[in-house]
Structure formats: C-alpha cells, structure tokens
Amino acid sequence: MKPLIKKELGAIFNSPAGVGVIVLFGVVASFLAVKDIFVVGSGSLRPFFALLPWVLMVVVPALSMRALSEERQSHTLEVLLSLPVSEEAIVIAKFLSLAATSAIALVLTSAVPVGLAFLIKLPLAETLLSYAGMYLFSLTAVSVTLFFSACFANQILVFLSAAFLLFFTMGFSLDLLSSFLPRSVQDILYPLSPLAHLPLFQKGVLDAGDCIYFAATIVLFLWYAVLSLKRRT
C-alpha cells in the first residue's frame, strides 16, 4: 500500500491544481475566521466552525474527485488492476492520502486560533475538538467523493454528485426543512445529517454516538467504492 500512498500524495502535491485548492482553502477559511473576529467583533471561533463545513463541502470533493475517476478515464486503472494489489488496498491508499491532505488543509487554518490565543483565553478543549469534528467531516466528504469517483470517469460529475449529496444531507439539519416537512420525517432525516453530529464537538464534548456516525459513514462509502471498483465489468 505504501507505493500507492506515495504515488497519490505525489499526484496531489505535484499538481498546481491540488496545491492551489489547498492554499485557497487555507486563505478563504482564515479570512472567514478573521472576518468574524474583527468585523463582527466576536472573540469566539464558533461562527467560523459553523461555516467551515460548508466550505469543506466544496473543497474536499474538489481535492478528491480525480482519485479514481482519473485512473478510469486515462485507463491506468487497467494497469493498476493487473498488478498484485487488491481493490480494497487501492481505495484505502487513496483514502489515507486524501485524509493526510485534508489534515494539512485544516492545519493551514490553525494560524487564526493560534493568533487568537495570544489575545484572549481560548478554550483549548473546545477548539481542539471542533477541529476533530471538522476533520471527521472532511473524512466523510472524502469517502463520499471516493465512492462517486469509483463510479464515474467524469471528474465534474464526481464533484457535483459528491457536493450535492453532502449539501442535501447537511440540509436535513437546517431549520428551513422544518417549514415544509412533517415532524416524523424530520425525526428520521435529522440524525442522518453530518451537521447534526458536530455541535457537541464544538462544545468540547466527545460523544461516542457522533464518532460512530462518522466512522460508520466513512466505512460505508469506502465499502461502496470498493464494490463499485470490483463491479467494473
């Protein structure tokens, strides 16, 4: 699996588009955080962490969309699958390299909380767990995008499908939905939303149920990606 991870990281960090997306994310996310602090005049990172999933919903699929679809489009998947490497190993290697990339992207935003910590007393547990929640959300977005990337050769289609599915499920936890959906339907849909599993992280509470939700979603979509890769015939 090591050669695959090395190849994937090389493909992301040797590509101007990959580096560009990561740097742009760092700049935009930091700007959003700074804007809340200086424009709104709030010394809290909560508005930043409330907005970050919406940015990640676009950035993570943009970073991950090429993972398998490019292999399919350029026919290198045929070479890869003639080598002694399993479909599971391919998907896990792609996932781990994108997980590392997502971690780097999130670390780029850490300048804001670190800077803020010099000015005010920042709640450490809340901030660290908020980042942990954002990271789990990013990994979920990676696994969703990998699944679509295993299904389609067209990268734009992969990006749109992943971003739409994330947007759609995130919408389950918005108040907007309560205006036109029956309560019983809302009760079913709400726990499916990744946004419904982030508030406790942002309060500095590590809840086993939230961790299980993210872990289960990640494993489910990675498994679907493996199945999709195996069903290439």
Binding site: K7, L83, P84, V85, T233
Partner: protein
C-alpha cells in the same frame, strides 16, 4: 499454464466473445490476430482478471483470474492497448512504483537492456511514443513474470521503433509465455510460435505458425474469409 475453455463475454446484448477455447504452455509465443472488434483486447482483459467472463473458464497457472486475481497478477506482466502511463511521473518513479507494488526493486539490467537509462529521470510526458512503449514494456517485465500479455505493443510506432520493440520482446521474453495481439502480420510471422485468429468473437484458427514468408498473412486472410463466407 493457460487453459481457456468455452469462454464467452457479452457487454449488454452484444457478444464480444463466444465459446473460445485454447491452451498455452510455457515458452509459447502466441500471436492474437483479428480485425478490429474481433475480441482480442477482451480476451486479454479476461486473462488478467480485469473483466469477468459471462460463461466459460480460464486458468492461469492454476488460478481463475476472475476469482483469484492477485495470485494471477503476481505471475504476469501486462501492457494494455495504448499503454496507459502516469505522465507526471518520471521513468524512475513509475518503475519504482510498479516494482514497489510487485514487492521487488527496479531491475537496472533490464532498464539498461531496454535502453531507458539515459531517460531514467525524465518525466514520462517528455518521452516519445517509442520510449513510452519501452517504459510500458519495462513495467510489464518488472519482477520477472512467467507470463507476458502485450496488447498491440507496436501500434502507432515508426518502423524503426517497431523493430526495436520487436527485438526487445524476442530477447527479453525468453522462457516466458507471451501473448501479444497485433495487426501487423509480419510481426506475428517474426515473433510467434503459435497463431490464434479471432473473428467476430469466435476462434477461427489455433495452431502452430505456418512456415514460409507471407504464410501468416495468407492463413489470416483464408481463416477470416472462411468464417465470414462459409
């Protein structure tokens, strides 16, 4: 080494292969001939386990590639049609990547024999088509596989590069079973010990290479004609 019996493959309602059977033993150099769409690439993809058959059986070194792809992959080297590579990698990175997956190291002797040493640190995207073909061949030969499957290895190359690739195959494929497809009948005449001809997904000839200059071309034309106008 390779046993194929009653092999059929359909894509939706279109049959790409129907009831193809053949065997190949160690040391055979088999030329796969047929017009476009005859089923050559499909057969090769089935042999490496990239596709699964609709019906029939394949055994490669005792393993069924559709079910046990990994043991089959450990014993073969494959160069698909159009030789897809990672253009952003250098030759060294690509061969290192392939060797890493095959749990071996790039073979410097092989790289020298293939004539890649002076381009070893060049990006693949900078190489000519002929040198890319050499990279694909080096990748297929990495790990010294006992079976080599080459899908149109000389297509699109100039006559000089075609000769180079042919002589490399001849020299480096010693003691291996080689399956290669081609539209260049003189290539089959030069390299093969056995000929398999496919037409519209059916096997129309399987036997030793006929002797004599132009004999493969004559056999090919006769077999296809007989199949199309029985």
């Amino acid at each position: 080494m390779i046993e194929v019996s009653g092999l059929s493959k359909s894509f939706g309602t279109k049959a790409a292969l129907s009831g193809v059977s053949f065997k190949a033993k160690k040391g055979d150099i088999v030329a796969f001939l047929g017009v476009n769409g005859a089923g050559k690439t499909t057969t090769m993809r089935l042999l490496v386990g990239y596709l699964s058959p609709t019906a029939g059986h394949i055994l490669v070194n005792g393993y069924n590639p559709a079910k046990d792809r990994l043991p089959v992959a450990r014993s073969l080297g494959y160069m698909p049609e159009n030789n897809p590579l990672y253009p952003d990698m250098t030759v060294a990175e690509y061969l290192g990547f392939i060797a890493g997956i095959k749990k071996t190291t790039p073979d410097s002797t092989l790289i020298g024999e293939i004539g890649l040493d002076s381009y070893y640190h060049s990006p693949i995207s900078f190489l000519s088509r002929g040198y890319r073909q050499r990279v694909g061949l080096a990748a297929a030969l990495t790990g010294n596989p006992s079976l080599l499957i080459l899908d149109e290895p000389t297509t699109g190359l100039d006559p000089v590069e075609q000769d180079v690739i042919r002589s490399l195959i001849k020299r480096l494929a010693k003691n291996k079973t080689v399956f290669f497809s081609t539209h260049i009948l003189s290539e089959a005449e030069e390299l093969a010990t056995r000929i398999i001809i496919l037409s519209q997904g059916k096997l129309v000839y399987d036997g030793p290479k006929p002797k004599g200059r132009g004999s493969v071309s004559a056999l090919f034309k006769k077999s296809i004609k007989q199949h199309l106008n029985p």
